[in-house]
């Protein structure tokens, strides 16, 4: 990685797909004068400017905050979710991670539960459905003063905070050899199970969220840990173990 700005010439191989029903194909683009200081998404913006000028259809991709907190910028870069760098979303990936003359393959997330809408955009509403199945606390938690009357240990607070850093980008599903959503689902189940307020619905939550996840057609975790490695927020596999315990507790209670 050099500190000095350089200009790169790159060969892009980007997945283009008209809509859900289109078969889709890779299209090659040659990019010249890409600054090593630009971000990966800025590089695609440059390409899209060119395509628009030529009267062609720009590459569709999801993006919003461009600072690694919204979880929109889902894409496989050279066969890795969010590209080659650990703990990094695609928007935080800089072109200095590539070298002059590189070929970069850009593909959408591949999962039956995340159908491709157009090019690199996928429909990730399946995650919203998993949350809607139980990823909330519906007991009345009162005002700030009441919250202070229910002590939460430092350890639980830390574990909940770590789990809460999940941005729901779907990289876990994309990277998992089984297209499993268990890291995502477990982060939500584990986060809420750390609190006394979350205990009330813990059994129903675990059971309902796992049921919803299964019905949406996600795969099953086989403990490879590719999700943990791909996760831009470093969500730990311990969350999956915690979900497995919560699920078992729920089933023992007959929920």
């Amino acid at each position: 990685m050099s500190a000095k700005e350089e200009m790169l010439t790159l060969n892009l191989k980007i997945w283009r797909q008209e809509d859900r029903n289109d078969k889709g194909r890779f299209v090659d683009y040659k990019m010249e004068g890409v600054s090593t200081d630009s971000s990966f998404l800025e590089m695609i913006d440059m390409l899209n400017d060119e395509l628009v000028k030529e009267g062609k259809d720009p590459v569709s991709f999801d993006h919003d905050c461009r600072e690694g907190i919204c979880g929109s910028c889902a894409m496989m870069v050279n066969g890795q979710a969010h590209g080659p760098n650990a703990l990094t979303t695609t928007c935080q990936l800089h072109m200095r991670s590539f070298t002059d003359g590189d070929t970069i393959v850009i593909e959408p997330w591949r999962s039956r539960a995340f159908p491709v809408l157009k090019d690199l955009k996928t429909d990730r509403s399946a995650f919203d459905k998993i949350i809607a199945a139980g990823g909330y606390i519906s007991v009345n938690t009162g005002n700030a003063q009441d919250a202070n009357n229910l002590p939460v240990s430092k350890e639980n607070a830390d574990l909940a905070m770590d789990a809460a850093s999940c941005i729901g980008c779907g990289a876990c599903v994309a990277a998992c050899p089984n297209a499993s959503a268990m890291l995502f689902t477990s982060a939500k189940i584990s986060q809420l199970a750390q609190f006394p307020q979350g205990q009330v619905e813990a059994a129903e939550r675990a059971s309902n969220m796992v049921r919803e996840m299964d019905e949406l057609g996600f795969g099953n975790c086989t403990n490879h840990a590719e999700c943990e490695a791909a996760c831009p927020k470093g969500i730990d596999l311990r969350n999956i173990a915690h979900m497995n315990r919560e699920f078992l507790k729920a089933k023992v209670k007959g929920k």
Binding site: G79, E107, R110, R112, A179, G219, N220, C227, K251
Partner: protein, 220 residues
Amino acid sequence: MPSHNYFTYSIGKKQITAVTGLGLVGFTATHLAGNLLILVGADAFNAYGHALVSNPLIYLAEAILLGMFVLHIAMAATLTAQNIAARGRRYYIKNRSGRGETIASMTMPYTGTILLVFIILHLINFKYGAHYETTVDGVVMRDLFRLVVEYFANPLYVAWYVFSMIALGLHTGHGLQSSLQTWGLNHPKYTPKVKMVSVAYGVLVALGYSGLAIYCYFLN
């Protein structure tokens, strides 16, 4: 007891696969311990085999073992089929992070299939194989030692056996640690140690079983 629909959930199937897998890991350990009597001698090995089959509890043990195999295979096959379907269209390129998948973890369905074929042939060759007789301390019993040594006279059989035991080592090496995670046991301090023990167990069973097969080859 878990509620009636436990099996219909992904995690339910995973936990059944895990607990039956742990049981089968235990079986590989006791079976290997029995096999080690080959090193002591023909009489010790044959007497052990005779003691096993003449205990009426053997039928119960065999039924439990068969049940574990059937459940393990049925659950794992269902999960694997769902996993293949869940991806849909394959990636054009997919690079591993280097911090997740291992050779053992990514080959679980393949090593499992090899082991299923192996077990069927193993039962045909040994349990239902040629019935020789010998006498140990005045008791007439099956001469399993002779059958084993004769079988391993063929280097091709030794090679197939060693190949299958490498599959067993890989399968248990991932399976042992994986089963604990599936039952919710993950600890920042102990899990790395559990993983090392799991891999060490895989290496030991592969070496133990293979070593005995090669030893029998040289007894000829």
